[in-house]
């Protein structure tokens, strides 16, 4: 059973029942799931988790729904790998990579969608929908197919071809909207009021967002039931970063950690869409929306709904925030691939390039245990690296031609 006690407004603290609603009627603040932590603490243990499935559902008591089996494609419990070569390249001694490219549809979105669709089934919805920059589209289409739900997926019409194919293949309705992601979002916010659908990032968003906590849960479990010193997380809407910070706190709250976590949380944005980083750098309390212009389309949210909470989590924890150029993003993708054998999408390039920047600035110190979240697979954004990745040489099919091009010493 789930241990949800209701929903609470993050802005003004008003309480609501656990319904498919996402916004406070009073102040428009986002609603967040609240739990009975005493009951969870009594129901959960390291042993119960270790005996659970190798998916997000091993942490079911800390999630708002437990009908996971019906939607399960195996989301979560991805590898946390020690990244010594990447660390050496950046002058850092203890870097870890959370490799979330290895989810069923190759991004962290499978975590949040698994939880959202489980909750949608619980509410009795027959149709699910989402506004997406691509990763969410893939995941909603796939999980809806798995769960036998109808789906409507709304994407910006200029999305990478790969992300369109990898959504359309699952069937369901794929709606290409002439506009950017913020336009798609605005349309969906208005559509959501008119149809009896579970819009994963609108009316069931409070539940959906909880899925991102599993990124923190797994990190702590995989580090041997301890929290890292520092995490570097990409920021689109700001939800993932906020929930990762919350995840470590919850693990402590329900008695799964020996020491209270003091995780510094740092954010990563693309320079072409950096409303949160800009507010952080300018020490402003106001996040000004922007018109995104970056190759990191999965992070191109100009008006981040959870931006204020992400900013707060960064400041409270003593973290930093970087905004990196498209050139640095491509270099970040290639650095991660060349040092660790992990091919991330453009958001991963943003995160790795931000880690580099934060290390240079001294925000990440050399001996901290730092975890970088690589949240989507590079095959989703081939366009970004294609111009600078190709054969080392093109040769004739002869030994002479090979030796002419390659002076092999060992």
């Amino acid at each position: 059973m789930a241990f949800v006690s209701g929903l609470r407004c993050r802005e003004c603290g008003r309480d609501y029942p656990a319904d498919p609603i996402h916004v406070c009627e009073w102040c428009f603040g986002p609603l967040e799931v609240s739990y009975d932590y005493d009951a969870i603490a009594a129901a959960i243990s390291r042993e119960s988790i270790e005996h659970g499935p190798p998916t997000v559902w091993r942490y079911a008591p800390l999630l708002p729904s437990d009908r996971g089996e019906e939607v399960d494609l195996g989301a979560g419990f991805t590898p946390l790998v020690r990244a010594e070569r990447l660390g050496a390249a950046l002058g850092l001694n203890q870097v870890w990579v959370k490799n979330d490219t290895l989810n069923p549809t190759n991004s962290f979105k499978d975590r949040v969608v698994a939880v959202a669709l489980s909750k949608a089934l619980e509410f009795g919805f027959k149709t699910v929908a989402c506004a997406s920059t691509g990763n969410l589209a893939n995941s909603v289409a796939a999980h809806a197919a798995r769960a036998g739900l109808k789906s409507y997926v709304f994407i910006p019409a200029d999305l990478e071809a790969g992300k369109i194919v990898t959504t359309a293949v699952y069937g369901g309705n794929l709606v290409a909207v002439e506009g950017n992601y913020d336009d798609v979002n605005r349309l969906c916010a208005e559509l959501a009021g008119n149809y009896p659908w579970a819009f994963v990032n609108v009316n069931v968003r409070p539940y959906y967002a909880e899925g991102s906590k599993t990124l923190a849960f797994e990190t702590a479990e995989q580090l041997g039931w301890r929290a890292p010193d520092h995490v570097v997380v990409p920021i689109a809407s700001g939800s993932q970063l906020t929930k990762i910070a919350k995840g470590f706190e919850e693990f402590w709250k329900v008695g799964l950690l020996d020491a209270e976590p003091k995780v510094r949380v740092s954010g990563a944005q693309a320079l072409g869409c950096s409303p949160v980083a800009t507010a952080f750098i300018e020490q402003s309390d106001t996040i000004k929306p922007v018109k995104p212009d970056t190759i990191a389309k999965s992070l191109a949210i100009g008006n981040p709904a959870d931006g204020y909470f992400a900013l707060d989590a960064i400041r409270r924890s003593g973290g930093g925030c970087a905004a990196v150029s498209d050139g640095e993003i491509v270099e970040g993708i290639k650095l991660l691939a060349a040092t660790e054998g992990i091919f991330g999408e453009t958001a991963a390039g943003v995160t790795v390039a931000s880690l580099k920047r934060l290390a240079e600035e001294g925000v990440v110190s050399p001996d901290e245990c730092v975890v970088v979240y690589v949240t989507g697979h590079g095959l989703k954004t081939l366009d970004a690296v294609q111009p600078t990745c190709g054969p080392t040489a093109t040769i004739a099919p002869t030994i002479d031609s090979f030796t002419e091009h390659f002076d092999v010493q060992e």
Binding site: I21, G29, P30, N185, A192, K288, P289
Partner: protein, 93 residues
């Protein structure tokens, strides 16, 4: 000059509009339009604005599908027949 515009009311605020999803009001700027909305259906003012008279930070207002923060904010002029939308911030991905 005052013109007629339609204001789209989001689901969480429809209790104030008697369930209506669109309301026609008059005004020349967004500020005037929202003032007229308050006059027609009292209650909008305190839901949309904080104590200092600024729009609450999770309230987004669009004129003809453009966020007023990219225009002239509450001073943004409206034209006859345009739609003004009040929309909560949406999460992404």
């Amino acid at each position: 000059m005052s013109v007629s515009v339609n204001v789209r009311i989001p689901t969480p605020l429809r209790t104030l509009s008697g369930g209506a999803s669109e309301i026609g009001v008059e005004g020349s700027t967004v500020a005037e339009v929202l003032k007229a909305l308050e006059a027609a259906h009292p209650g909008f003012q305190e839901r949309l604005f904080d104590g200092d008279g600024n729009l609450r930070r999770f309230v987004n207002v669009f004129v003809a599908d453009e966020d007023i923060r990219f225009l002239d904010g509450l001073g943004t002029a409206v034209a006859e027949g345009q739609t003004v939308s009040i929309i909560p911030a949406v999460a992404g991905g």
